[in-house]
């Protein structure tokens, strides 16, 4: 795909995000988009956000569970960029007016204390380079109408990232069994879904290693201090005004988030 088209679709996603509206699936407009094209479109979209004043603060890994991979017909995860404008603190109320068609996912986030330069990174390197892990919510959102996404659409749309919230609890992956730690997600005081770390690529550390190696091949840095959302361990939760979600990771702690307002869609 030529650079003009990459820019065109990257700009279209940026404008849709800024205006809080959706666009038709890119694959409907352009059936020949490859996965590599989709990552170039994502890069353009994120460059626009950075040019408008945001900074890159980390990465998210998506499509990590077998059911989602089967649904999208792919056999590996995808990734997107986390920017400074996406960050909420635990206890904050998320303004649904800033989102289009949001859904929440409970995850384990990693914060790095050393650079991870792939290729050649293993899960053991990930544990070594991790400062701490923390329970978190990613609020996914799609700039594609009605979430009618194929893998190229979601990758181009920054892996459908919306905003995220890190919990205050911090865990050392040398003291916590991140693979077997359970994940309990409650919505308005009732259990919504449960999960376990191993549902993410056998272990969340495997997902982070995959990302380090993938970024290494693309020449994208993976730096100390960055946040990595390692992939959903819960069902997708629809959220509306007044909802409160709590996710709790066994042996680690909780992250709590509230929602207010009306989303654009």
């Amino acid at each position: 795909m030529n650079e003009d088209k990459i820019q065109h679709y990257g700009d279209a996603l940026y404008e849709a995000w800024r205006a809080g509206r959706t666009i038709a699936p890119l694959l409907e407009q352009e059936p020949e988009i490859t996965l590599a094209d989709a990552y170039r479109i994502q890069l353009r979209y994120i460059e626009r956000r950075v040019a408008a004043g945001e900074t890159i603060v980390g990465k998210k890994i998506g499509v990590t569970s077998k059911p989602v991979q089967d649904f999208l017909g792919v056999f590996q995860p995808d990734f997107g960029q986390l920017t400074s404008g996406m960050v909420y603190q635990e206890g904050d109320t998320i303004d649904l007016g800033s989102l289009i068609q949001p859904k929440a996912e409970a995850e384990l986030a990693f914060v790095l204390k050393e650079d991870l330069q792939g290729p050649g990174i293993t899960a053991m390197d990930v544990i070594r380079a991790t400062d701490y892990v923390t329970p978190c919510f990613e609020i996914v959102d799609s700039r594609i109408t009605d979430w009618k996404i194929k893998i190229q659409d979601t990758v181009a749309d920054n892996a459908s990232c919306g905003v995220y919230v890190l919990g205050k609890a911090k865990g050392d992956p040398r003291k916590l069994d991140i693979t077997l730690a359970g994940m309990v997600l409650e919505k308005n005081g009732e259990i919504f879904s449960t999960g376990v770390g191993a549902a993410v690529q056998g272990s969340p550390a495997n997902a982070v290693a995959w990302l380090a190696n993938t970024l290494g091949e693309l020449g994208i840095p993976f730096k100390a201090g960055e946040v990595i959302l390692s992939g959903s361990q819960s069902a997708l939760v629809p959220v509306v005004d007044g909802d409160e979600l709590v996710c709790t990771v066994g042996g680690l702690g909780s992250c709590r988030v509230k929602f207010a307002g009306r989303s654009a869609a």
């Binding site: 077997l180 730690a181 359970g182 449960t194 191993a198 066994g250």
Partner: protein
């Protein structure tokens, strides 16, 4: 949550014995039968327990030893699917126990499935009604990881609550193992579990999937026992219900259930 079992008995003693013999035949010779309500559409849950207790009476008379009980249908999703608001229970005997890491025959089972569960071993007797989660935790000696091999004797795993209760809650085999722990050293609801079959992850969840807390299922079991006129003796082995969905197994399969803080339980299946 009262089931008022006694008033809703509809089967005659003769019918109960007849159905019990039908279930016993299917269990001991491993064949599928139509669900009992096909012939007795008015059959109630109380009738189901009457058949189950007759089955237990016959097994104990034949020299089997009861080791405890199991709770089934303990996830909200599964109860909703079955249109009921109570779990079911079934009795466990020494003949159903298999050692950790052993080879389990499938030839004497109809269509076995495996589930990860937290099992409780009690040190004090528990008596309903009114038994609470706190009562259960106070009466618990230790918990351990377990795999239940359920095997509905009904064709196509299709059943309703009275039929499954009569079939002893689909109880077939169980394997306890891993690492025994004190409940006060654990946060049971957030305990994660993973089921692997032939090296591949086939199910994963946290123990809160069982009524929010596995001890809640034991309390409900004790309260159902009270309606049947029984208590739960000290020293009982009680399985609290599937945390993960039931996964079909066949000869040649190898299964390992991995539990946060509790170690693992493994077994393989042979013809």
């Amino acid at each position: 949550m009262s089931m008022n079992l006694t008033p809703s008995l509809t089967l005659s003693r003769e019918d109960i014995v007849r159905l019990c013999e039908r279930v016993e035949g299917a269990q001991t010779r491993a064949y599928a039968i139509p669900k009992l309500t096909d012939e007795y559409p008015g059959m109630t849950i109380a009738d189901g327990y009457a058949v189950q207790l007759e089955l237990r009476r016959r097994f104990l008379a034949a020299g089997h030893k009861q080791v405890g009980w199991k709770a089934g249908l303990t996830s909200r999703a599964k109860m909703k699917q079955m249109g009921v608001d109570v779990p079911s229970i079934g009795f466990l005997t020494d003949r159903m126990a298999r050692p950790e890491n052993s080879a389990i025959r499938t030839g004497d089972l109809v269509h076995p499935r495996v589930e990860c569960e937290v099992a409780f071993v009690t040190k004090k007797a528990l008596q309903g009604p009114g038994c609470t989660r706190q009562d259960v935790l106070a009466a618990t000696d230790y918990v351990l990881p377990a795999v239940e091999i359920i095997d509905s004797r009904f064709s196509g795993f299709k059943f309703d609550l009275p039929s499954v209760v009569a079939d002893n809650g689909s109880s077939a085999r169980f394997v306890g193992g891993g690492r025994p722990r004190y409940v006060e050293d654990l946060d049971l609801p957030t305990l994660g579990v993973v089921m692997e079959k032939n090296g591949e992850i086939v199910a994963g969840a946290a123990a809160a999937a069982v009524l929010g807390h596995p001890a809640e299922a034991i309390a409900m079991l004790v309260n159902i026992l009270a309606e049947l006129g029984e208590g739960l003796p000290a020293g009982s082995f009680v399985m609290s219900g599937g945390i993960t969905e039931a996964v079909p197994v066949k000869a040649g399969d190898s299964v390992i259930a991995r539990f946060q803080e509790l170690g693992s339980v493994s077994m393989r299946f042979v013809e």
